[in-house]
């Protein structure tokens, strides 16, 4: 992180997290050179930062650009889509990378991200987690909100943990919505916002429209914690509130809270709980009736 390390390289997808990385790096006196992935990040957000917009297949060009700008450490973050081999249209450098990696790059949710990390490391870059730059992104265990989960919500959290872990074992999704012990929805590639939107229409009625149900969002077993950690933010809170949920449970030290003050404020304004749980607390109970 010393100036000797050169500018921080940033491979930027969508959402707020890449912008938080830029702000935190600059606050610490470090310049950033960003590779904005076309169709994922909005170049307009990066207009005050040295950057280049690169299509997802132009991995060779991205690495040349990092080298030309003296980048030696790279952070990858932000929302990504998983492209098809067809959509990638690899440039010469990327084609070589894909040959090295093979079809693993197109398998599972994380294939391409894991492949990108491997290529960057083999090419001599150090891949840093975004949370090494944005220090408050990963909450310690504990309650972040004013509201706390009641006994029923804790039951739903336990069921959600069992489900998300089962999904994670087959490398799918990171979250589930549970209400009254019933799994309303599980996430694949549609993203958490879409999951919450559909669960709003699937929830059971409660007396006087009382909030209940939880969103559980955890790290996958075996996930590379330097890239693609599960993320929540104010939009997630708004989605959970609109779905009538009582709160959100995340993995302490594993789920990124993008803009923590704004996220907690949104939860408090809506009366939702937001809790970060220790992995050792995340013990699934028997789930079959």
């Amino acid at each position: 992180m010393s100036p000797a390390a050169g500018p921080l390289g940033l491979i930027a997808g969508g959402g707020q997290m890449p912008l938080r990385v830029i702000a935190a790096a600059r606050a610490a006196g470090r310049e950033v050179f960003a590779v904005v992935v076309e169709g994922w990040g909005d170049p307009e957000d990066f207009r005050h930062v040295p950057h280049v917009v690169v299509r997802v297949g132009a991995g060779g060009y991205a690495i040349e650009q990092f080298r030309a700008h003296g980048v030696r450490q790279v952070v990858m973050c932000g929302r990504a889509q998983r492209p098809s081999l067809l959509a990638v249209r690899p440039d010469a450098g990327m084609a070589k990378m894909l040959l090295r990696i093979g079809k693993a790059a197109f398998q599972g949710d994380d294939g391409l991200l894991k492949a990108a990390v491997r290529v960057l490391e083999e090419d001599g870059f150090e891949v840093l987690p975004s949370q090494a730059i944005v220090r408050d992104a990963l909450p310690e265990p504990g309650l972040l909100s004013a509201a706390a989960p009641d006994a029923r919500a804790r039951e739903d959290i336990r069921r959600g943990i069992a489900v998300v872990r089962a999904l994670g074992m087959v490398d799918v999704g990171q979250c589930a919505v549970v209400q009254q012990g019933l799994v309303l929805g599980v996430e694949a590639i549609e993203g958490t916002d879409a999951l919450l939107a559909r669960c709003a229409g699937l929830r059971r009625d409660t007396p006087d429209g009382q909030r209940d149900g939880v969103l559980v969002k955890l790290v996958k077993p075996g996930q590379d914690r330097r890239v693609d950690l599960p993320t929540i933010g104010p939009v997630t809170v708004a989605g959970a509130a609109a779905a009538g949920l009582a709160g959100i449970a995340i993995e302490a030290g594993g789920t990124i809270v993008v803009d923590r003050p704004a996220t907690v404020a949104a939860a408090d304004a809506a009366g939702l709980f937001l809790i970060a749980l220790r992995p050792e607390e995340l013990t699934p109970t028997e789930t079959n009736p």
Copy 2:
């Protein structure tokens, strides 16, 4: 199944399967007395059959009605929603049942169905699977359609099997959609039609809009095979076609094909494959890249 067994009792949810049961029973010379669950089945569909419409909480009344009509064997089938305790508003008989069963009736996808089977059996009824009446509902292993899965589709089927089994272990959903090794969606309580509808917007582009990807729909491990078997029909085929999928894989002897001639005809008209796989063929491969 002899006339001595009295009329067949039918607890009917939504969709075509209850109507197929009625047609098959009558073709075999047996009368049917139906309990149509309010909000699940459409009473209009049952106007030519002796029946009573009963709300989901009136389990006590339903059992009285079966007794009054000499029913000793019962089939439960059709689409069901999982009600909240609040929505159930149990009658006196149902309240006694719920006390006997406890909160297990409201846990997991299958809690209430399993509870209903237990109550019926304890009350001296025999619970028959719908496939005992509709003989061609459960296909043997093999290809049902003209089209067959290619190597890529077989890969997607293998991945889908691993995902659906992992979900089934935590008593969630019965199906998943996989395209090019990527899990586009997994089912919780939204149902297969809703799953297919959202996957249409999540699929990767293919050259010339070529079909690819599969819907995999299997029996949950430990599922009571007398009730709530996974079901497909012509509407499922239409949804899979609209989502651009190449085909559908089901569990031989486990997934009900509601109207087999119409379902196969729909698959053939759309150029989709429809294959029933033997459990021993359903061997998950390593899915993490």
